[in-house]
Symmetry: C2
Subunit: 222 residues, 2 copies
DNA sequence: ACACGTTTAATACAATTGTTTGAAATGAAT
DNA sequence: ATTCATTTCAAACAATTGTATTAAACGTGT
């Protein structure tokens, strides 16, 4: 019976509280930010003792780093950057899918819903974890985007690539970053259908600009 | 001599330390955010005693509220929304000026350079001060923008006005909000000339989308 | 010179923070 | 049943926080 039980639930409750800590920490960090979040609240919400964080992760910083990694992995596997779109698809279609997937990743309310808030918080108020987050998570996504844009603009305008990428990403993250203000400017919650509408708008808005013919060298006619 | 001295520096050092506190608090709040900023550092940077904040402002919260008001007033008088542009100017020109002025207000490095950071911090991590900040500062600016856009789109598309406004504001605040990431993605500081270039790009990018003919009712042809 | 209201200063206080400690509990292997 | 490593727990630690208190310093009008 010992053997059987051990086989059915191998890591037993050890790995279990670790997991609960990860989930609870995600919530709290997203709500309060790294500095204002307290390990006491995290542990309490995870139904664990105050010392659990230090036992399982060493300290608050390493717990936070683990949460960031975990959040990004979960979000990516739930909404892969190219949602089943074949590589042969046109650049315009890949851009549309990129925008849609990106929006879902940062705005989705399903589990874990806190991924977007967590990321925007880290953008605005960086901790020591930002460096590796940029290199491992953000830069690859960013380069996917500049790749698509470069294909649409042609090689000549490469110096402007970043501006266009920033314009697109900026439109997206705004809804996550400025959510408290948007809520006050025009009360009413975001539903999932709203995300579809949003993706449609941002795609159209951006495609207009990207389709615009322009001179080589990157500078548009004034 | 008493009379003379009192006349030359009327509020003497009382109003003076109040002012120094305001400036120092602006710096520290912008750097650390409201919750992580300590009144001890603020007072130290202002060359004042720890108790100075409570004496002059009551408590940390009311100091913060005062700083927000002060920052917005200073930024608005330095970069008025319509930089001397006549009201008769075309909607396109007024949009360009709006974008340029908005960017300068949030990205300018002159004094007080912390206005932009302060605002984006309050967006992302609201305090009790956000409500009045939205009503007194943000909403008027936002309505100026939707007014311009509405003129360009025609009345029919009014339900989409907010989307277009968000797209424009989103592009702008991104450079302030995601500054730490942008710095890591492509090192190199922002110079003032960069702001001009940025304004040019965002204007062109957005005008393309706004000029695009669309059906009445707000939804564009898919 | 004196008195008085305003401002500054040093210090203390209670609350909260992340982290540590050492004992109790747990569960599998002998 | 005993041993042992792993995990949980309550309690305590030192550091930092915003704020309150109390006395000193200052400038001003008499």
């Amino acid at each position: 019976m010992n053997v059987l039980k051990a086989y059915i639930t191998p890591p037993e409750s050890a790995e279990d509280t670790r997991q609960r800590l990860l989930e609870a920490a995600g919530e709290v960090f997203a709500e309060k930010g790294f500095r204002s979040a307290t390990v006491r609240e995290i542990c309490s919400r995870a139904g664990a003792n105050v010392a659990a964080v230090n036992y399982h992760f060493g300290d608050k910083d390493r717990l936070y780093a683990a949460v960031l990694k975990y959040a990004h992995r979960r979000a990516l596997e739930k909404f892969p950057p190219s949602l089943g779109l074949p590589e042969s698809a046109s650049a315009e279609d890949r851009l549309k899918v990129f925008i849609r997937s990106f929006l879902y990743r940062i705005l989705d309310e399903g589990r874990p819903s806190w991924h977007g808030k967590l990321m925007t918080r880290e953008l605005a108020d960086p901790t020591a974890a930002l460096d590796s987050l940029v290199e491992e998570s953000i830069r690859p996504t960013y380069e996917t985007l500049t790749g698509i844009i470069g294909e649409m603009l042609g090689k000549a305008a490469s110096s402007d690539l970043r501006y266009f990428a920033n314009s697109i990403v900026g439109q997206c993250v705004f809804y996550c970053h400025a959510a408290p203000v948007l809520e006050r400017l025009a009360p009413g919650k975001f539903k999932s259908s709203e995300i579809e509408r949003l993706a449609e708008h941002i795609s159209q808005f951006s495609l207009c600009a990207l389709r615009q013919p322009r001179k080589t060298g990157g500078r548009r006619n004034k």
